[in-house]
C-alpha cells in the first residue's frame, strides 16, 4: 500500500521543479535553461512512477484514506487539505503525469532555442502540479483552489508568447470565460456552508467531498442533508464551473482561441488534461448529481448539443489546431453527455483514451508545424512523403478519434453509445434518445473533419507552407488572422526527441482501448471489463453500496451502427477531398450561408465580444455609469464646492487651504452643537 507521503510527492515533485525553474534557473542560470527542462522531466518521470504505484495500490483494493490537515479554521468554517484517492483519482494521476511527461520530452525539441525556455518549463510544471493537486483534493475548497490555479497556468501558457497581441487576448478570454463558470462553482460552495451546522450535527464537514456525497444520499443514516431543489441548484452550480473549464456550450468560445499557446501546451492542457477537469469535476460529484433528474438532464443535453455543435464548426476550419480544438470540445461533450445519462465509467474511460489520442494528434500537429512553419492546412499537403512517421501516427490517432475498431476511441465511444441507447433510468427516455442520435450525428461529423484534416495535411501536393502564407497575407492585408507558428520551412521528419513521445502515445492509442477493458474474456491477466468495473466499484464505494457492479456488454449491433456512421463520414471526406483532387478547402463552400455561419462560429464570438461586451456592457452600460459618475456623483461634489466658494467673501476667507483654519472652524462648530444640545437639555 502506498503511503500518504508518496501521494503527496506526486504533487510536490512538479511543484518543486516549478520553483526550481522559476526561482533558481530563470534568474541565475538562464543561459543553461536546458536544466529546467531536464529537471521537469526528472520530476515528472518520478511522479509517473509514484502514480503507477498508487494506481496499483488502488487496484489491489487498498483503502487509501488519509486524515486531512487543517488549513484554515475561522469560526464555523473549517477548511482542510487532504487526499482523496479513489479509482477515479488513481487513473487521473497516471493520465496527467503520463501525458505531461511525454509532452515535456517532446517540448525539448519543439521549444528548442526559445529564449524563454525556463519560463516555459516553469509554467508547465506549475500546471502539472496544480492539475495533480486538483484530482487528489479531498475538500471542495481545496479542489476549487487548484481549479483556479490550473486556470491561471492555462492563462500563462496561452499567453506564453505575450508579445503577440492575439496570444495575450486569447489568454485573457480563456481566463474570463472560465471564471464566469467558476462563479457558479463558488456559489455552490457558499451554499454548502449555509448547511454547515446540519453537517456537523451529523458528524460531517460541509466541505469534505466524501461527506458531501454522504449528505446527498437519501438512504444514508443521517438522511439527505441536501436534497430537492437545493441539490439541483448545487449540482448546476458545480456544472457551471465544469462547463467553463470543459468548454461546453455556451462557454466554449475560449478553447479554439486558446490554440494561440505553444502546441505542446495545447496537447497537454487544452486537449488531454485541464479541459477534462470539467468532466472530472462532474464525475467527482456524481453521487450528488445522480440524485437530481433535472441536473442530469441538463448535463446530458448540454453535452449532447456541444458534441454536435462543436463538431459542425470543426468541419470548416482551416487551421489544423482549431479543427482539433473543436474536436476536443465535441469529445468533451460526449463525456459530459455520458455523465448526464449516468454512464460514469464509460465517460471516464473515454476521458482516458481521448487524452492519449488527442494528445498525439496535437503533438502531430506540432510536428507538422515544425516542418512547414504554419498551421494553416491550405498551405500544407503532401506531407506523408516527407514525414512518414508523423503521418502514420496521426492517421492512427485520427482513426481512433473517429472510432474505428480496434483503436482506443472505438471501445470507449462505443460504451457511451451503447449506454445511451440502453439508458440507465437516471433520466427520462427522451433524453436518452435525443442524446443518442446527437452523438451518432457527431460520429459522422467527427469522421468527416478528421479525414479532411488528414487529407489536406498529408495528401496531395505541398502547397508552400509559411512562405506562401506570408506572401498571400501581405497581398491581402485585411486578413489579420494570427498564426502561432514558429520557424521556417524545413520539410523533413521531426527530431527523435519529438517523435519518440509520439510513438509511445501511438502504441497506447492502439492498445489501451481493448487491453484496459477486454470485452469478452480476461486478456493478458486483465479481467474482462476491467477499467469500467474498477471505476464503477469506486463509485459504488463512494455511495456506500459495495457490490454494485455495472458494466455494459459489448453489442455487435451498436458496433456496426457506429462503424457505419464513421465510415459514412470518412467516405464523404475521401470523396470530396481525395478523389476530386481539387483544391477546394471544403465542400460546404457550395452551401454558402451554412459555410459562412460555420466559419463565423455561429457568430457567437461576435455576439459575446462585439455586441455583449464591447457594445452593450462597455459602451452603453459602463459608459452610462461613467457619465453618471463624472457628472452626477462627482458633479454634485464639485457643485457643492463651487457653491461654498462663491457664497460670499466672508465665507470665502475660510477657503484658504490652511488646515489650521479648517480645524478651528470645525472645533467651533462642534462646540456650538454641543452648546445647543446642552441648552435643549
Amino acid at each position: 500500500m502506498v503511503s500518504e507521503a508518496v501521494i503527496w510527492s506526486i504533487f510536490l515533485l512538479p511543484l518543486g521543479s516549478f520553483m526550481f525553474a522559476a526561482l533558481v534557473v530563470r534568474p541565475l542560470f538562464n543561459r543553461y535553461s536546458l536544466i529546467s527542462g531536464l529537471a521537469t522531466i526528472g520530476a515528472l518521470g518520478t511522479a509517473l512512477g509514484l502514480s503507477i504505484w498508487t494506481l496499483r495500490s488502488a487496484i489491489l483494493g487498498h483503502h487509501l484514506e488519509f486524515e486531512p490537515l487543517k488549513w484554515l479554521e475561522v469560526g464555523d468554517a473549517t477548511i482542510e487539505i487532504g487526499l482523496l484517492v479513489d479509482p477515479l483519482t488513481a487513473l487521473m494521476l497516471v493520465v496527467v503525469t503520463g501525458v505531461s511527461l511525454l509532452v515535456q520530452i517532446y517540448s525539448l525539441g519543439y521549444m528548442k532555442g526559445d529564449p524563454s525556455f525556463s519560463r516555459y518549463y516553469a509554467y508547465m510544471s506549475l500546471f502539472t502540479a496544480a492539475m495533480l493537486g486538483l484530482v487528489m483534493s479531498s475538500n471542495i475548497i481545496q479542489l476549487y483552489m487548484f481549479w483556479e490555479l490550473v486556470g491561471v497556468s492555462s492563462y500563462l501558457l496561452i499567453g506564453f508568447w505575450h508579445e503577440r497581441p492575439s496570444a495575450a487576448a486569447a489568454a485573457k478570454k480563456a481566463f474570463i470565460i472560465t471564471r464566469i463558470g467558476d462563479v457558479g462553482f463558488l456559489i455552490a460552495i457558499l451554499y454548502l456552508f449555509t448547511q454547515a451546522e446540519t453537517f456537523s450535527a451529523a458528524g460531517l464537514n460541509a466541505f469534505h467531498i466524501p461527506d458531501i456525497w454522504m449528505a446527498a444520499q437519501a438512504e444514508a443514516a443521517a438522511g439527505a442533508i441536501i436534497g430537492g431543489t437545493a441539490l439541483t441548484w448545487l449540482a448546476l452550480g458545480i456544472f457551471a464551473g465544469a462547463a467553463g473549464k470543459s468548454g461546453q456550450f455556451p462557454l466554449h468560445t475560449w478553447l479554439p482561441d486558446a490554440m494561440e499557446g505553444p502546441t505542446p501546451v495545447s496537447a497537454l492542457i487544452h486537449a488531454a488534461t485541464m479541459v477534462a477537469a470539467g468532466v472530472f469535476l462532474v464525475a467527482r460529484f456524481f453521487p450528488v448529481f445522480e440524485h437530481s433528474i433535472d441536473a442530469m438532464t441538463v448535463v446530458a443535453l448540454v453535452g449532447a448539443f456541444t458534441a454536435v455543435f462543436a463538431a459542425s464548426m470543426g468541419l470548416v476550419m482551416n487551421d489544423i489546431k482549431r479543427v482539433m480544438a473543436y474536436s476536443t470540445v465535441s469529445q468533451l461533450g460526449y463525456m459530459m453527455a455520458a455523465l448526464g445519462l449516468g454512464l460514469y465509467a464509460p465517460a471516464i474511460f473515454h476521458l482516458v483514451t481521448h487524452a492519449a489520442f488527442k494528445a498525439l494528434l496535437f503533438l502531430g500537429a506540432g510536428s507538422v508545424n515544425h516542418a512547414t512553419g504554419t498551421f494553416d492546412m491550405r498551405y500544407m499537403g503532401g506531407l506523408r512523403k516527407v514525414m512518414p512517421v508523423t503521418y502514420v501516427l496521426m492517421f492512427i490517432a485520427g482513426l481512433s478519434l473517429v472510432g474505428i475498431i480496434p483503436l482506443a476511441g472505438f471501445w470507449s465511444k462505443d460504451e457511451i453509445l451503447l449506454g445511451a441507447w440502453d439508458g440507465t433510468g437516471l433520466v427520462d427516455t427522451w433524453v436518452n434518445r435525443v442524446t443518442f442520435f446527437s452523438l451518432i450525428v457527431g460520429v459522422v461529423a467527427t469522421a468527416f473533419y478528421t479525414m479532411r484534416m488528414i487529407i489536406l495535411t498529408f495528401h496531395g501536393e505541398f502547397r508552400g507552407g509559411i512562405d506562401k502564407e506570408i506572401e498571400d497575407r501581405s497581398s491581402d492585408a485585411a486578413d489579420d488572422t494570427n498564426h502561432s507558428a514558429h520557424g521556417g520551412i524545413h520539410l523533413h521528419e521531426s527530431p527523435l526527441v519529438m517523435i519518440l513521445p509520439m510513438l509511445v502515445l501511438g502504441v497506447i492509442t492502439v492498445v489501451i482501448g481493448y487491453i484496459a477493458n477486454p470485452q469478452w474474456v480476461d486478456e493478458f491477466g486483465i479481467p474482462k471489463h476491467w477499467i469500467t468495473a474498477f471505476l464503477s466499484d469506486g463509485l459504488a464505494e463512494a455511495k456506500n453500496a459495495i457490490g454494485h457492479h455495472e458494466t455494459l456488454e459489448f453489442s455487435r449491433g451498436m458496433a456496426l451502427v457506429s462503424t457505419l456512421a464513421a465510415l459514412l463520414g470518412i467516405g464523404l471526406a475521401v470523396l470530396v477531398y481525395l478523389k476530386r483532387r481539387r483544391l477546394v478547402s471544403d465542400i460546404l463552400v457550395l452551401v454558402k450561408p451554412v459555410h459562412i455561419l460555420l466559419t463565423q462560429k455561429y457568430y457567437m464570438d461576435y455576439l459575446y465580444e462585439n455586441l455583449m461586451v464591447r457594445k452593450w456592457f462597455y459602451r452603453v452600460f459602463a459608459g452610462t455609469l461613467d457619465w453618471l459618475e463624472k457628472n452626477i456623483i462627482d458633479g454634485t461634489v464639485d457643485l457643492v464646492g463651487w457653491f461654498f466658494r462663491n457664497i460670499g467673501t466672508a465665507i470665502g476667507k475660510f477657503q484658504t487651504g490652511q488646515v489650521q483654519t479648517y480645524a478651528t472652524v470645525i472645533a467651533f462648530a462642534v462646540l456650538a452643537i454641543i452648546l445647543a444640545l446642552l441648552l435643549v437639555d
Partner: protein, 510 residues
C-alpha cells in the same frame, strides 16, 4: 496617573515622529536624509513586527495587550487617557503599517524636490496611522485621525502631479466633513449620562453603558454619525469620488500609504466602533451596509473598466474591493442561528490583503511611470519584455486582486463570501459577480500595459533596480505567505473579533 505602561506601543507609534524631528533639525544632505529615513522606517517595521509576533494569541490571553495607559489632561476634568493598546484586530494592521511605511520610503528613492521635508511628512504620516490603530481612547483616536490629514495633504499638494491642489483639497474636505460627524458622535457618547468616558475598551466591553436612557442622540443616530466618518474614509459609494483624484495625483509613496493603510482606517473604525460599540445597531442596519457594499463592489468594478489612467484604474478597483469589507461586516445581519466570525474575519483580512496588494500595484505603476513618463494605458504596451521583474510583481498583485487562490486576496474574499452568504444570499451572489469583473479589468490592464507589441521608444527601458525591487519583494513575500498560510493572520484577527461576536450573539439571540 499611570495605569499601565509597557512602552512598546508608544515607541512604535512615536518613533517615526521623533525620527522626523531629528531629520528636520539635525540631518543634512539628501543622501543622509534618505538613509536616515530608511533607518527609522526599518526600526519601526521591526517594532511593529515585534508587536505582531509577541502578541499573545493563545486562548485565555488578555484581549488588549501592550497597554500604555496614562491619565491625560485631568486638570480640565476631562476623563481622557493617553491609552494605547492592541488587540487581535489591530495587531496585524500595525504590522501592515510598518511594512507599507518601509515600502513607501524605499519607493521614494528618486524624489529630488524638497527631499527632507518630504521624508518628514512621510514619517509623521506613519505615526498618525499607527496612532489610529492603537488608540483605545476616543479622543486620542480622533486626534491621530485628524493628524493624518496634514502630511497627506502636503504630500499630494506639493509632490503630486496633475490637478494636485484640487485633489489634495478634495481629499481634505471630504475627510474633514466625515470626521465632523464623528466628533459629534464622540462628544455625544461622552456626554451620555452614566458614560463619561472616552475609553474604547470599556465602551466595547460594556455596550450596555450606551443603551441607557437619556441619550443625547438616539443610538441609531450615533451609529450613523460614526458610520459617516468611516464610510467616507473607506470609501464607499457614493462618497468615493475623492479617492480616484487623490490617488491619481499623489506621488507613488503617498498612493501606497493612502491605499495601503489610510483606507484601512475606515474599515478598522467600522469594526472597532460601529460593530464593537453598537452591536444591536450593526445587526439592525447590516442590510444597509450590504447594499452599499454590493453597489460599491459592482459599480466600482464597472467604472474601473472604463479607466485609461493606470493609477485611476487601481483607485477605482479599491472602491470595489473595499466594498467587500462592507459586505463582510454585513454578515452580522443574520436573522437566525449563531453568528460565526467568518464574515467579520473576512472583512478584517480584506483590509490587510488589500493593503498589501494595492500597495504593490501602486509601487509597480510608480516604476512604470518613472520610466515611461506616462500612465495613459493606450500609450503603453509590451513592457513585460523589458521589465520582467515589474511585470511579474504587477501580475502577481493583479492575480491576488482578482482573488487567485494561493495569494492573499483569495482568503479574504472567500471568508467574506462565506460569511455574508449566510445572512444575505442574493446580495452576496451579486457581489460574487465582482470576481468576474475583477478578472476583466485586471487582465485587460495587464494585456494593454505589459503584453502585446512594444513601442520602439520603450525598447531600452531598464528593469527595477535592487532598491526598487526590495519593496516589491517584501510585498510579494507577504502576499504569497498569507495566501498559502492564512492562519498566521486569521487566528490573530479571530482573537480580536471573537469577543465582538459573543456580544453580537447576545444581541441576535437574546
Amino acid at each position: 496617573m499611570v495605569e499601565g505602561y509597557n512602552g512598546l506601543l508608544t515607541a512604535t507609534v512615536f518613533l517615526p515622529a521623533v525620527g522626523a524631528l531629528i531629520l528636520l533639525l539635525l540631518v543634512k544632505g539628501n543622501k543622509n536624509v534618505r538613509n536616515f529615513a530608511v533607518f527609522i522606517a526599518l526600526a519601526d517595521l521591526v517594532l511593529s513586527l515585534v508587536v505582531f509576533s509577541f502578541f499573545d494569541r493563545s486562548e485565555g490571553a488578555d484581549r488588549f495587550q501592550f497597554v500604555d495607559k496614562i491619565t491625560w489632561i485631568p486638570d480640565v476634568g476631562l476623563n481622557a487617557h493617553f491609552f494605547l493598546a492592541v488587540d487581535g484586530l489591530s495587531a496585524p494592521l500595525v504590522a501592515l503599517t510598518g511594512l507599507l511605511g518601509m515600502c513607501a520610503i524605499l519607493a521614494s528613492w528618486h524624489v529630488g524636490f524638497r527631499v527632507k521635508e518630504y521624508f518628514v511628512w512621510l514619517l509623521v504620516l506613519q505615526t498618525a496611522v499607527m496612532g489610529v490603530f492603537t488608540s483605545m481612547d476616543l479622543l486620542l483616536f480622533f486626534l491621530f485621525w485628524e493628524l493624518e490629514l496634514v502630511p497627506m495633504f502636503m504630500l499630494i499638494s506639493v509632490w503630486g502631479s496633475g490637478r494636485k491642489e484640487y485633489s489634495a483639497m478634495k481629499f481634505l474636505i471630504f475627510t474633514i466633513f466625515g470626521s465632523g460627524f464623528m466628533l459629534v458622535g464622540i462628544v455625544a457618547v461622552y456626554l451620555t449620562p452614566g458614560v463619561g468616558t472616552f475609553d474604547m475598551v470599556e465602551l466595547s466591553t460594556k455596550t450596555t453603558m450606551l443603551t441607557s436612557a437619556g441619550l443625547l442622540i438616539p443610538m441609531s443616530g450615533l451609529f450613523w454619525l460614526f458610520f459617516a466618518g468611516f464610510a467616507i474614509k473607506l470609501p464607499t459609494w457614493p462618497v468615493h469620488t475623492w479617492l480616484p483624484d487623490a490617488h491619481t495625483d499623489a506621488p507613488t509613496a503617498a498612493s501606497v500609504m493612502l491605499a495601503g493603510v489610510l483606507l484601512k482606517m475606515g474599515g478598522y473604525g467600522l469594526l472597532r466602533i460601529n460593530v464593537g460599540m453598537f452591536p444591536s445597531q450593526a445587526d439592525e442596519f447590516a442590510w444597509v451596509l450590504v447594499v452599499l457594499g454590493v453597489v460599491s463592489v459592482l459599480y466600482g468594478a464597472v467604472i474601473t473598466m472604463r479607466q485609461t489612467d493606470l493609477k485611476r484604474l487601481i483607485a477605482y478597483s479599491s472602491v470595489s474591493h473595499m466594498g467587500l469589507v462592507l459586505v463582510g461586516i454585513g454578515s452580522v445581519g443574520i436573522s437566525e442561528g449563531t453568528l460565526s466570525v467568518t464574515g467579520l474575519n473576512g472583512a478584517a483580512m480584506q483590509l490587510f490583503t488589500h493593503g498589501t496588494v494595492t500597495g504593490l500595484l501602486f509601487l509597480s505603476v510608480g516604476l512604470v511611470y518613472e520610466r515611461t513618463h506616462t500612465r495613459h494605458i493606450p500609450d503603453l504596451g509590451g513592457l513585460a519584455g523589458r521589465m520582467p521583474v515589474v511585470a511579474v510583481a504587477m501580475l502577481i498583485a493583479g492575480l491576488a486582486s482578482l482573488g487567485l487562490p494561493g495569494l492573499s486576496g483569495f482568503v479574504s474574499e472567500l471568508l467574506v463570501f462565506l460569511g455574508a452568504y449566510q445572512a444575505y444570499d442574493w446580495p452576496t451572489v451579486l457581489a460574487v459577480l465582482g470576481i468576474v469583473l475583477a478578472a476583466g479589468y485586471i487582465l485587460w490592464m495587464m494585456q494593454r500595459t505589459f503584453f502585446g507589441v512594444r513601442r520602439e521608444s520603450f525598447n531600452d527601458l531598464p528593469d527595477a533596480s535592487l532598491v526598487e525591487a526590495l519593496p516589491l519583494g517584501l510585498m510579494l513575500i507577504t502576499i504569497i505567505g498569507v495566501g498559502v498560510y492564512p492562519s498566521v493572520l486569521t487566528d490573530v484577527f479571530e482573537s480580536g473579533l471573537n469577543p465582538m461576536v459573543d456580544v453580537l450573539n447576545g444581541v441576535i439571540n437574546p
